[in-house]
């Protein structure tokens, strides 16, 4: 992301000496903005100006890593306000909160079980947060040790007492946990601790202004592995703050906000808490810490995260396989379609509406629609026949009836040959015609 001429001009000496080869400083600034000149050409630019211009051309939000090995969670390095403009890159790290005053071992075992497999994808809760509610350094250290012994996942340590944090870091510093939080009161000690152990540190202000000030103080101490917390806990306030963090970082290149952002839920009712966490992960939070730890609470949240962080330029594919609609059995017909999710769900909806038990074979066309795949030779008789074999339809379905989308009626003859004796029927061109078609043929 380049700088604009005016931004550069503000840092130039404004001598208009022409030694850089441009007639004026403003012209030189425009040449720099267009990538046609180098800052070295100016003999009078100050070191501070060089530094300011260098850092202003860095990515708008820094990448910060939490954890080690296979369990590293990448936070930040986002560039967009809306996902449809390009995409969101690093899914929000979701952390389940464990207090050092509860049964830590039981809770962490429950956390480890928060894994889901749905529509062909694996969802994992990727962080665990341990909070010091006891105020007792030894107790917190023990809790952290217990958690570390039972999970490999990235950790967040929550205490504002540097002595308590130090005790816990004695046992888990090499796991590179995220430390929460440095405040206006403790930031010197917390920064020293984080810097010494090379752990990322959350800076918590009372509001956006104090957070920005805190960042400048900590950066002045030489530490930049930072995550921001504006201190807001109400959903509405947090939504506003998260939006400001992202907008100022991306649109105004406001360096103090060029870091990932931390959110923690405040609702006690689990249903409300999940909705609150959903808002935060939708609106730019890079880490969300929450109490929710039941499967029924996490699955919708993880599904939503998966959805928000998909690449909108890439077609979304469903798993390529034989799917039952209703109580499909060995006497049900098999509809053929592609694994483009829009195509697939349209067909599935229409077949469901017929109330006639059926199979749908979604053929892997790299997530492209019927006509796109056909034109690209990804939806040929050979490919369909191969998918049919792989799907297990041969063994499980006795009625050997295939229904082709009407737009590829031309594949009928070759598919009959390739499939080795299946009866191939040509269905309607549009899925909206399936109801009438099915009632006539199969009711």
């Amino acid at each position: 992301m380049g700088l604009t001429g005016l931004e550069i001009y503000k840092h130039l000496p404004k001598t208009n000496c022409k030694e850089c080869g441009s007639p004026t400083c403003l012209a030189f600034a425009m040449a720099l903005a267009a990538g046609k000149a180098s800052l070295d050409a100016c003999p009078y630019v100050s070191d501070e100006a060089k530094e300011a211009l260098d850092s202003a051309s860095a990515p708008p939000i820094k990448l910060v890593k939490v954890g080690t090995g296979d369990n590293v969670v990448d936070l930040g390095e986002e560039t967009e306000i809306f996902r449809h403009d390009k995409r969101f890159f690093h899914p929000t790290g979701l952390a389940v909160l464990i207090s050092d005053t509860e049964d830590v071992a039981a809770k962490v075992e429950k956390f480890e079980d928060l894994k889901f497999h749905r529509v062909g994808l694996d969802y994992v809760t990727d962080m665990v947060a341990v909070k010091c509610d006891s105020g007792d350094a030894a107790k917190f250290k023990e809790a952290v040790e217990t958690v570390a012994g039972k999970t490999e996942k990235a950790m967040v340590l929550l205490t504002e007492d540097p002595a308590v944090m130090e005790a816990a870091l004695d046992v888990v510093a090499d796991r590179k946990p995220l430390l929460w939080a440095a405040t206006a009161d403790n930031y010197e000690k917390m920064t020293e601790l984080a810097k010494g152990k090379e752990c990322p540190l959350v800076l918590k202000g009372k509001d956006l202004h104090e957070t920005a000030e805190l960042v400048e103080k900590v950066v002045a101490l030489g530490y930049k592995e930072l995550v921001l917390d504006s201190g807001a806990r109400e959903t509405s306030k947090m939504l506003a703050d998260l939006t400001q963090f992202r907008r100022l970082a991306v649109r105004k290149k406001f360096r103090p906000f060029g870091y990932p952002v931390f959110a923690i839920t405040s609702k006690d009712d689990p249903r409300e808490e999940v909705i609150q966490a959903g808002v935060y992960l939708t609106k730019y939070a890079d880490v969300v810490v929450m109490k929710a730890c039941e499967k029924q609470q996490l699955l919708p949240l993880l599904s939503w995260r998966q959805n928000i962080y998909t690449d909108p330029q890439k077609p979304v594919a469903v798993e390529a396989k034989l799917n039952a609609v209703g109580d499909a059995d060995e006497n049900s017909p098999v509809y053929i379609t592609t694994n483009f999710s829009l195509t697939y769900f349209l067909v599935e909806g229409e077949i469901e509406a017929t109330r006639i038990p059926s199979w749908i074979l979604s053929v892997d066309t790299a997530g492209t629609s019927v006509l796109t795949a056909y034109a690209d030779n990804k939806f040929s008789a050979e490919i369909i026949a191969e998918a049919l074999k792989k799907s297990g339809a041969e063994e499980n379905v006795k009625r050997h009836t295939l229904i082709l989308p009407g737009y590829v009626a031309v594949l009928k003859g070759s598919l009959e040959e390739e499939s080795g004796g299946w009866e191939v029927m040509v269905g309607p061109r549009e899925a909206s015609g399936i109801n009438k078609f099915a009632k006539e043929k199969f009711a």
Binding site: G2, T4, L6, E7, P23, L26, R251
Partner: protein, 264 residues
């Protein structure tokens, strides 16, 4: 693209006569017609013949506002006429125009800040219209830097890279296109760009064809606004189409009608 309707200009006979005889009918008729054609702003220019520019401008504004709610673009080199006019405008207006000349910029930008007006700024100075893109961009940068230093936001600035008729100054075309692209590098938020479109086809054959082809090319290079004939349907359709192809408006089958009727 922001459409600034060009027709209420004393250079045209009917408007010239109307101003002279204080007959509001032709002015109001063109205000309505341009609004129906899809204009966002109405350009008001008293023309060179009016003896009292201030009175003529005030009269034009008043009679136009009787029939149209569109914001106005006050087109004059007489800044006293513009200032008196700004006082009468019901909606924030546009000042057309200021070149990159210090005394004029110092007169116009503070006035624009005071009245919340936008400003059309010309990429030229005392030395005239530059030929190459680099000189145009340098003047544009000067306009932005000066506006910024006088408290006027670059977002409210419409830079006109200045087009010349393609039959006599054909080699300016590509320079204008490059200027349009690079103006966006000056600041963030960047200044907007505007073109007095009909200038490109002065004295040529097939004026409408040249106008709309140029409009589409300029839009592809980032043009934001045009002072144009809002009643040229082919032009307006081409602009509506270019907006779709540039992903500025969401496509629908009736995209031309939607664009023309967007202010209703």
């Amino acid at each position: 693209m922001i459409i600034i309707g060009e027709r209420i200009n004393g250079m045209y006979n009917d408007i010239g006569k109307a101003i002279k005889g204080k007959d509001p009918k032709p002015v109001q008729e063109w205000a309505r017609r341009q609004e129906q054609g899809g204009a966002d702003y109405l350009d008001l220019n008293v023309g060179p013949a009016s003896p009292n520019k201030i009175e003529a401008m005030k009269w034009l504004i008043e009679v136009t506002q009787e029939v149209s709610d569109l914001p106005l673009c006050l087109d004059s080199t007489n800044y006293d006429a513009i200032e008196e006019g700004l006082k009468l405008c019901k909606k924030p207006a546009m000042i057309n125009s200021v070149p990159a000349e210090m005394p004029k910029m110092e007169r116009v930008f503070p006035m624009a800040v005071q009245y919340g007006a936008e400003v059309v700024a010309l990429a030229m100075n005392e030395e005239g219209i530059p030929k190459d893109a680099d000189s145009r961009i340098a003047l544009a940068a000067e306009l932005v830097a000066t506006a910024d230093s006088l408290g006027f936001s670059p977002e409210m600035l419409y830079i006109d890279p200045l087009t010349l008729p393609c039959n006599v100054a054909q080699d300016h075309g590509p320079e204008v296109m490059r200027t349009l692209r690079e103006i966006k590098l000056i600041s963030d938020p960047s200044p907007k760009t505007v073109i007095g479109l009909s200038n490109i086809s002065q004295g040529t054959q097939n004026r409408d064809l040249i106008n709309r082809t140029f409009a589409v090319m300029a839009m592809a290079n980032g043009l934001d606004a045009g002072i144009v004939d809002a009643n040229d349907n082919e032009l307006m359709s081409a602009i509506a189409t270019a907006r779709i192809l540039l992903n500025k408006d969401i496509y629908c089958d009736s995209f031309v009608n939607v664009f023309i009727n967007r202010n209703r």
